[in-house]
Structure formats: structure tokens, C-alpha cells
């Protein structure tokens, strides 16, 4: 299934139109509150998915072992592995394919490279790998955005990414205004 072709005149018209009140932040670096609540939303989503996965896993184990559901216990290592894999999959796929996670989509954020391009699989995976390190040290790596000129966290600095406001609908996303920062 292919996306409908985009008329260049529409793109240019959208890019040169006067931005409405909801668009004046378009493309600007997202701040700590928006990003925090977006991460919180992602955590809730991941928790729900993980609980569901573990529930299914336990049900499968119960069927395989022929025991009642309540008598089956899942090894903690297996549970942690499932959760980590799911998290890895969730964030990497979301950033690489959609440019945003569910939480970021809800709060109108988008993770991109500094020149506006999408992350790609490698950067997405690298960014996810650095996240735990960023949240350690009392979240110093995350709070780094408060002193960074482009509101970047440590994962952003390492992966060469930024998080910007993108409140437009996908069909209006255009090559509007790009300032190559680096």
C-alpha cells in the first residue's frame, strides 16, 4: 500500500502560510515538562503491554506444563528479558519508523536528527541504549536539557538527535523551515 503522492505546491503553500496559534512552536526544541510527561505516558503504555505479555506468557506456560494458571511462576530473568526486549522494540521501532513514541505523539513531540532527518534504525537503537545511563545519576542525563542550548539530553548528544514540537498532522508535515544547526 503506497502513500498518496504529495503535491509540491501544497507543501510550499503550507510552509509559507502564517502559522496558527498551535503552530508557532513548530520545530522548536521541546522542554522538560513535555518530554517528561511523554516518557511517563510511554512508561504506562509499556507497563500495560508488559503486564499483558507476562500474563500471556504465564498462560502459555500453564498450558504447556498442564498446571493451573495460578500455580505457574515465571522466572524473573525471563520476565526481565521480555520487558527489556519489548522496551527495546517499542522505542527503536517507534523512533525509526514513526519518529515518535506514543507518548511523544500524544504531546506533539518528534525525535529527529539535528538536520531534520529521521533517526534510522542505528541511531534509534543507540539512543535507547543510552537512556538507562541517562536516567541514572538521579536523572542527570535527562535534566541536562535544562542547560543545553538545544534542550538535548545525553542520549540526544550521543545519538546526534533533538526532540522538537511537531503538532501538525502527518499529512501536513512539510519541509517547512530548517535551520541546519550543525
Amino acid at each position: 500500500m503506497s502513500a498518496p503522492p504529495v503535491d509540491p505546491r501544497q507543501l510550499v503553500a503550507a510552509s509559507t502560510a502564517d502559522p496558527g496559534p498551535s503552530l508557532h512552536r513548530q520545530g522548536r526544541y521541546a522542554g522538560i515538562i513535555s518530554r517528561s510527561v511523554a516518557i511517563g505516558t510511554d512508561a504506562v503504555v509499556l507497563a500495560v503491554v508488559s503486564i499483558g505479555s507476562l500474563f500471556v506468557l504465564q498462560a502459555i506456560a500453564a498450558m504447556v506444563e498442564g498446571k493451573p494458571f495460578g500455580d505457574v511462576t515465571i522466572q524473573s530473568e525471563l520476565g526481565v528479558t521480555v520487558v527489556v526486549l519489548q522496551s527495546t522494540l517499542y522505542f527503536t521501532v517507534a523512533w525509526a519508523v514513526f519518529g515518535r513514541t506514543a507518548g511523544e505523539a500524544l504531546f506533539g513531540l518528534r525525535t529527529i536528527r539535528r538536520n531534520g532527518e529521521p533517526l534510522g534504525w542505528g541511531r534509534s537503537f543507540l539512543r535507547f541504549l543510552v537512556w538507562p545511563f541517562s536516567l541514572s545519576l538521579c536523572g542527570l542525563g535527562f535534566a541536562w536539557m535544562l542547560i543545553d542550548g538545544r534542550r538535548r539530553t545525553w542520549p540526544d548528544l550521543i545519538a546526534g538527535t533533538v526532540v522538537v514540537y511537531d503538532w501538525r498532522r502527518a499529512d501536513l508535515a512539510t519541509a517547512e523551515v530548517i535551520h541546519p544547526h550543525g
Binding site: P8, I33, E176
Partner: protein
């Protein structure tokens, strides 16, 4: 021998009768003219007004002074008489006038429809407005003093005005809804989407405002420069995923002719809009 005598007598009687009728007609005419002249003279006289006023004052005034208070007292004591009285006045005095005047007025209005609007304005402005101006404050005062009157009033309005409207309109509305359920579904879906979009935008605005506040506080405390002002453009979906739309790259080539620069070597949709103050680098804070 008697016949000639009888015929002469009959002729004499007939002539006398004709003369009598003629003289009666002349007398009637003279009396009518005399009466007309007299009435005209009396009407034109300045004395007649004084005479009439004197007669009325001497005869009617006592009657009115004696009878009116009694009648009004009676009406106060028996308000149920008011309606028949008004109906009687309207029926005997106003109704004949209305019966003759309204068809004439309606005929005039049909002939000259441009008079309808001024007429309605005049009625509303000169007749209804003063009544409303005087009555509404009294009604509002009454309601303020006796709030228990409000519900009966509202229920009365609903029963007498809205209820018939609803009874007349609802079946039609339901019929229309039944005829086109897709429109209703679309309406409900659009409304739900609109509510969701509105809530989302509210949350985003609040979060972004909080971002700005936190950022200002931190940078004031740390005495650091504001966040880079220039926005980063998000490459279009078609550019990020060219495999979905092979022809989509054309729009990037079209951009320069529209005043937007393209960073061709990188292949990215890195464009800059000329002449837009909000996008010039270093133009101020990130707001």
C-alpha cells in the same frame, strides 16, 4: 246626476292631498336645512364647548366620581369580572373597528409590502417596548422576591410555547435522522474527534507553556543563554520514507523556485524560508 258632483269632489280631495304632500316635503326639506344650519352654527360657536363642558361636568362628573370608584372596587373584589368587562369593551367597541380597519390595513399592506417592516418596527418600538420596559422590571422584581414563581413561569412557557414546537418538530427531526443515519454517525464521529483534538491541544499547550516557564527559571538562575530560537524543520513523511512514494522527491526540487533553499547534497529537506523573522537564526528566545 250625482256623478259629476262626485267626480268634482274627488278631484278636489286629490288636489288637496297632493298639495298636502308637497307642502310636507317642502317643510321637511326646510326643517332639515334649518337643522343643518343650526347644528353648523352651534358647532362653530365657541360657546358650545363651554356649554357641553358645563353639562358634562354638572351631570357626568358626579356619576363618574360616584360610580367609577365603586366599579373599580367591585372589580378588585371580583377580578373574575375583569375579563368579561374587557371582552365586552373589546367586543362592542374595538371589534367593530378592528373588523373594518384590519381588512383595509391588510389590503394596503398587500399592495405596499414595503410598509410591513416599518409597521412592525413601529408596533414593537412604540407599543411593545414601553410595555416591556415597564413590565419586565416588575416581573423580575416579583421573581426576585418570590423565586417560587419562577418554576411555574418557566413551566408555563415550556408547556405553552416550547411543547407544541417540540411536538411539531421532533417527529420531523427523527424522520430526518432515520433517513440519513450515516450523516448522524459522521456528525457524532466528528464531534468526538473534535473533542479529542481539543483536549490534546490543550494538554500540549499547557505542557509547552510549562516548558517555557521552567526553562526561563533555570536559565535565569544559571545565567545561561536562551534556547536556540530557530526552529528545526521536520522533514516530510514522504522524504523520510521515499520508498513509499518514489515521485515524492520532486517537491524538494520545486522548493527553490518558491523561495525555499534546499540542501541538495545531504538529500535532506533542509529548507529555509526567506524573510520570515521568526525563523531567522538568533532572533530571540525560543518563543
Amino acid at each position: 246626476m250625482l256623478d259629476p258632483l262626485r267626480s268634482r269632489a274627488d278631484d278636489a280631495v286629490r288636489r288637496l292631498a297632493d298639495r298636502g304632500r308637497l307642502e310636507e316635503a317642502v317643510a321637511r326639506r326646510q326643517a332639515h336645512e334649518t337643522f343643518g344650519l343650526a347644528v353648523g352654527a352651534v358647532s362653530a360657536s365657541v360657546v358650545i364647548d363651554q356649554v357641553i363642558a358645563e353639562v358634562l361636568g354638572r351631570n357626568l362628573q358626579p356619576i363618574l366620581e360616584g360610580a367609577l370608584p365603586t366599579a373599580l372596587r367591585e372589580l378588585q373584589n371580583r377580578p373574575e369580572l375583569l375579563v368579561p368587562l374587557v371582552e365586552s369593551i373589546v367586543g362592542q367597541v374595538l371589534q367593530p373597528i378592528l373588523d373594518t380597519a384590519i381588512p383595509s390595513v391588510m389590503g394596503d399592506l398587500q399592495a405596499r409590502p414595503e410598509l410591513i417592516v416599518p409597521l412592525v418596527e413601529s408596533i414593537v418600538g412604540k407599543a411593545l417596548q414601553p410595555i416591556l420596559d415597564q413590565a419586565l422590571p416588575l416581573v423580575m422584581d416579583d421573581i426576585a422576591r418570590q423565586p417560587e414563581l419562577l418554576m411555574p413561569l418557566v413551566m408555563g412557557i415550556v408547556d405553552e410555547a416550547l411543547e407544541p414546537l417540540l411536538q411539531a418538530a421532533l417527529p420531523r427531526v427523527i424522520e430526518v435522522l432515520n433517513e440519513d443515519p450515516d450523516a448522524i454517525r459522521s456528525l457524532v464521529r466528528d464531534q468526538s474527534t473534535g473533542i479529542a483534538v481539543e483536549m490534546t491541544e490543550t494538554v500540549r499547550f499547557k505542557a509547552a507553556d510549562a516548558d517555557e516557564r521552567i526553562d526561563r527559571i533555570v536559565r535565569r538562575v544559571l545565567r545561561r543563554k536562551p534556547v536556540a530560537a530557530a526552529p528545526v524543520a521536520v522533514a516530510p513523511v514522504v522524504a523520510r520514507r521515499p520508498e513509499l512514494n518514489p515521485g515524492a522527491g520532486a517537491h524538494l526540487e520545486a522548493l527553490p523556485s518558491s523561495g525555499v533553499a534546499v540542501d541538495a547534497p545531504s538529500g535532506a529537506a533542509t529548507a529555509r524560508r526567506d524573510g520570515h523573522p521568526s525563523v531567522e537564526p538568533g532572533s530571540g528566545a525560543n518563543r
